[in-house]
């Protein structure tokens, strides 16, 4: 995709599950590092929200990958991906209760203690809600950041999807988060299907998501954002145009400040 042709990249993410530790580190990533681009390791299969402690070998792999690429952080999701001996290959929401909070705090602290880089946690998109939630997400995330040292990765597209599908105000959501704990943001494309918005990482960025990025940037000045695209890659020109549109959306912050 020739990302090295862009001079304005601050950081990229490596999807941990796409990299094997027995392979040589990728040269194109080393080239980006030489240009000063930071690397973040992003995992999708740790399942911090599952009962039981997170898997030690997965944690060791994440940490080893972070070492290999000299990453600045490791990010994962506030979610579970397996239960009943079944792999879902999908991020599922945790129930937002005191008991779940206690379990997550324990698992996050355990994971953080086995990683040599800071752990950053991402909000996910979900088409359904648990019926017995006792907290909304901003409260739950705020409590997590108070009770652990983890920072937050705000996925704007997941927030957009949840706000649309579950009917809440995304700006009020952001205003209730601890802004100093937000490390960076994800932005991705999606599509409407049968009245529900799906965050796909495979479709172009909708204008409404970019508008939300702008509105959030006003409230979180200086928080960087990255494009998540991992399926149906467009031609380079279109991909670079999407990166430019995120940059524009973020810079409205400075124009209005």
């Amino acid at each position: 995709m020739h990302l090295e042709r862009r001079d304005d990249l601050g950081f990229i993410e490596l999807l941990a599950e796409n990299h094997r530790l027995d392979e040589k580190p990728r040269e194109e990533i080393a080239a980006l590092k030489l240009k000063g681009v930071d690397i973040a390791i992003h995992g999708v299969s740790l399942s911090l929200g599952s009962a039981g402690l997170p898997d030690q070998s997965r944690l060791a792999s994440l940490d080893r990958l972070a070492e290999v690429y000299d990453a600045v952080l490791v990010s994962e999701h506030i979610a579970f991906v397996r239960a009943a001996g079944l792999e879902t290959h999908h991020l599922l929401p945790v129930e937002r209760t005191e008991d779940m909070l206690a379990l997550l705090v324990r698992n996050i602290n355990y994971a953080a203690s086995r990683l040599s880089r800071p752990l950053v946690l991402e909000n996910i998109a979900s088409l359904f809600e648990w019926p017995d939630n006792t907290m909304d997400e901003p409260e739950f995330l705020t409590r997590l950041t108070r009770e652990t040292d983890a920072m937050l990765l705000l996925d704007v597209s997941n927030l957009y999807a949840n706000a649309l599908n579950h009917g809440f105000d995304p700006i009020e959501y952001v205003e209730r988060l601890p802004s100093s704990k937000i490390a960076y943001m994800h932005v991705a494309g999606g599509t409407m299907r049968k009245g529900l918005y799906h965050d796909t990482h495979a479709h172009p960025l909708p204008g409404a998501v970019l508008q939300l990025v702008s509105d959030i940037a006003l409230r979180l000045p200086g928080v960087p954002a990255m494009l998540e695209r991992d399926d149906c890659f467009p031609i380079q020109k279109e991909l670079f145009a999407e990166l430019d549109s995120i940059e524009d959306a973020l810079s409205r912050d400075y124009a209005c400040a």
Partner: protein
């Protein structure tokens, strides 16, 4: 049982019921929005289908392929690890449905020359496997 452990056990059971509803089409757990769970179930199957199509493009050549994959998901229930294995098991399902073309059968045979399904995993064939496989082929020719 200590309090934390018993609470964790409850979480474990609740998550298990939810995952079985999503992957094995078991009953939606009480209190959940049935329509939302159904949408999530379809979304998971689509995602799994796209992943299998990327690794097995030859099995997804006509407009009914994804529909057939969803039928396979409903029948098979839980996905095993990895899209490559999922695709191979989908191929087995299509073989039983007698809908594979000669080209698709060839693609599967090429794949099987290098890999084998062992329990819930896919593994590369070693020299002994290949020898055994070629002896079987000679005997059954």
């Amino acid at each position: 049982m200590p309090v934390l452990e018993s609470k964790e056990q409850i979480i474990k059971e609740k998550q298990a019921r939810l995952v079985r509803a999503l992957l094995k089409s078991e009953e939606t757990p009480e209190g959940f929005d049935d329509a939302a769970i159904d949408a999530a179930r379809r979304s998971l199957a689509r995602k799994r289908s796209r992943a299998a199509a990327r690794t097995w493009p030859g099995l997804f050549t006509d407009s009914k392929s994804h529909e057939r994959f969803e039928a396979y998901c409903r029948k098979r229930g839980a996905p095993l690890s990895g899209a490559l294995l999922d695709g191979r098991l989908f191929a087995r399902y299509l073989e039983r449905e007698h809908v594979l073309t000669a080209e698709q059968l060839e693609e599967i045979a090429r794949f099987d020359a290098s890999y084998m399904v062992q329990g819930k995993e896919l593994r590369l064939r070693n020299g002994a496997d290949r020898l055994f496989r070629s002896a079987i082929r000679r005997l059954t020719r």
